[in-house]
């Protein structure tokens, strides 16, 4: 077990003044400790490897995909063969190529959505907690309002109005996701704000931005990262769900979700499993991998263990 900072042995100090024992580590002890804790979590490491591979697949899609994902190759609904490893869809497009290109969509939606709402949520959370008063009240009531709505139902309505494409999905998912981050950040800022090193900063006459961003934010960042990681997984899942319902990324652009849409027909479901099993499995794999990473991070950042 790694030693938590609060377990340092106080009793071993003798009366000699500076000779009190100090742990040998010096350089970036915090990150190092985080790293060693993370790699002990085998599933998290596996998840990280898979995530990195998926990012590579997305980046290298034009070079590794056998076909253009929108190109109609001629054979419709062909089962897997040497030419089309995962067969072709009902319009005759290569399923493997579509699967590879869809990785881009999923990862872009996942990462951009989260980057957007985590930034907004963090800023709002910090402002709400640090300034308090009526502003805090107002922001918290707004988050309450957002969080009381059944997420998917409202998103569907909004998307049906704004039109469905990747940008709208990202914006709408971000619009309905920032409140939870704002609340999380507000909570940790409120507890950090009471600590004496913040008081010390005030007593030293440091400026408010300096206290917020040099002292409070670095200490609140752990839970935000964990939340963001799980957020990526959940945004990918939401995009898949929306696309599956036909309210997300529209064909001919390939998305794992819209590749599954056809499986709602019983013929596809029964006779053409190559059309729907691979994209479903990809969603599962991606979301699972990212969730494992998030879990590993959470354990690594949890000082109680």
């Amino acid at each position: 077990m790694a030693l938590s900072p609060y377990e340092l042995d106080e009793g071993s100090m003798s009366a000699v003044i500076p000779a009190e024992s100090v742990k040998p580590e010096t350089e970036d002890a915090f990150l190092k400790q985080l790293f060693t804790r993370f790699i002990r979590h085998k599933l998290a490491v596996a998840g990280l490897v898979i995530t990195v591979l998926l990012i590579l697949v997305a980046l290298l899609a034009p070079w590794i995909a056998p076909n253009d994902p929108k190109e109609v190759t001629g054979v419709f609904s062909a089962p897997p063969s040497a030419e089309h490893w995962l067969g072709t869809d009902q319009v005759g497009r290569d399923v493997l190529s579509r699967l590879i290109y869809a990785t881009q969509i999923s990862l872009i939606v996942g990462f951009v959505t989260v980057a957007l709402y985590v930034t907004v949520g963090t800023l709002i959370g910090i402002v709400s907690a640090y300034f308090g008063g009526w502003l805090d009240m107002l922001i918290m009531r707004i988050t309450d309002m957002f969080m009381a709505f059944p997420f998917l139902m409202v998103i569907l309505v909004v998307i049906s109005i704004l039109g469905s494409n990747m940008t709208t999905i990202i914006l709408v998912l971000a619009l309905f996701s920032w409140p939870s981050v704002a609340r999380l950040v507000r909570g940790s800022v409120l507890s950090i704000k009471q600590l004496d090193y913040i008081n010390a900063g005030v007593a030293l006459g440091l400026s408010t931005p300096r206290i917020l961003f040099r002292h409070i934010f670095p200490n609140a960042v752990g839970p935000i990262i964990v939340n963001a990681t799980f957020g990526i997984a959940s945004a990918i899942m939401s995009e898949a769900g929306l696309s599956f319902l036909g309210m997300g990324v529209q064909p001919p652009t390939a998305s794992w979700g819209n590749m599954l849409t056809d499986a709602q027909s019983l013929t596809v479901l029964t006779d053409q499993p190559w059309l729907w099993v691979p994209p479903g499995a990809m969603i599962l794999l991606t979301v699972l991998a990212i969730n494992f990473v998030g879990d590993g991070l959470r354990d690594a950042l949890d000082t109680r263990q």
Binding site: A148, F244, M247
Partner: protein
Amino acid sequence: MLNYFIIKLAPGNPVDMFIDPNTPKEVLELRKEILGLNDPVILQYFKWLLNLLQGQLGYSFSSYAPVTKIIGERIGPTLLLASAALIFGMLIAIPVGILSAVKQNTKFDYIMTGLSFIGTSIPQFFLGLGLIYVFAVQLKWFPTGGMITLGGAGGFWDRLTHMILPVFVLGIVIAGKKVRYVRASMLDVMNMDYLRTANSKGLHPFIVTNKHALRNALLPIITVVGMEIPLLLGGSILIEQIFQWPGIGQLTIQSILSRDYPILMGLNLVAALIVLTTNLLTDLLYAAADPRIKYT
């Protein structure tokens, strides 16, 4: 209220959608007038509010039936599905979570933690389709969808066989999430001094777990279950679509496709009401279960 404006400010309206492009402009305007679509948005909103106070939610744009009636028909099946799934999910999550905590770091714990991860990471529609493929198409144990066999005799068993797959899918996702909460909550409680005391008094481990630990561990779980309700309503949209379950989830999709705003407004209102009610219930339950909290 927010919903109302978002919906109202949307481009396109039902009259535009369903008309034959050859319809004369005057007829069109007349229809809009009848439906009240030419009034300013604010006025429309207050009309809607006024009707709401009288228990009127207006009429569907597509079927002209009262919104209350349409939603009323659909809400029962959704509540049935959602509550069955919630109960099923918690019936799995609580015992598994407790056992995982008690047998922390054993094979059982690892396997269950792994399974719970898969449960939370699997897309509901993919799991649903997979189950339909295996149990309905291949094994023919259950029907592929719907709530009752069309033209069949109906009855309890018929309904039950239709329910099993969708409840399973919805419940598994809930269980996957909640197992980890129950486990964590149980572990927190098990590290408390009063449990060490109970153990050191020589009480039977079964009593310690069930009487001393469980009651305290379940407290935070009540809140967590309450938080699940909005997600459950969202999830039911996908599940109802896949299993053709005639609930409000399916109605949502249909209304969106046909731009049937009065129904969408009604649906959002109902959903918000359900969420608020469950939030209130959660608070009350929490107060009932925790002697430290008193509402004065």
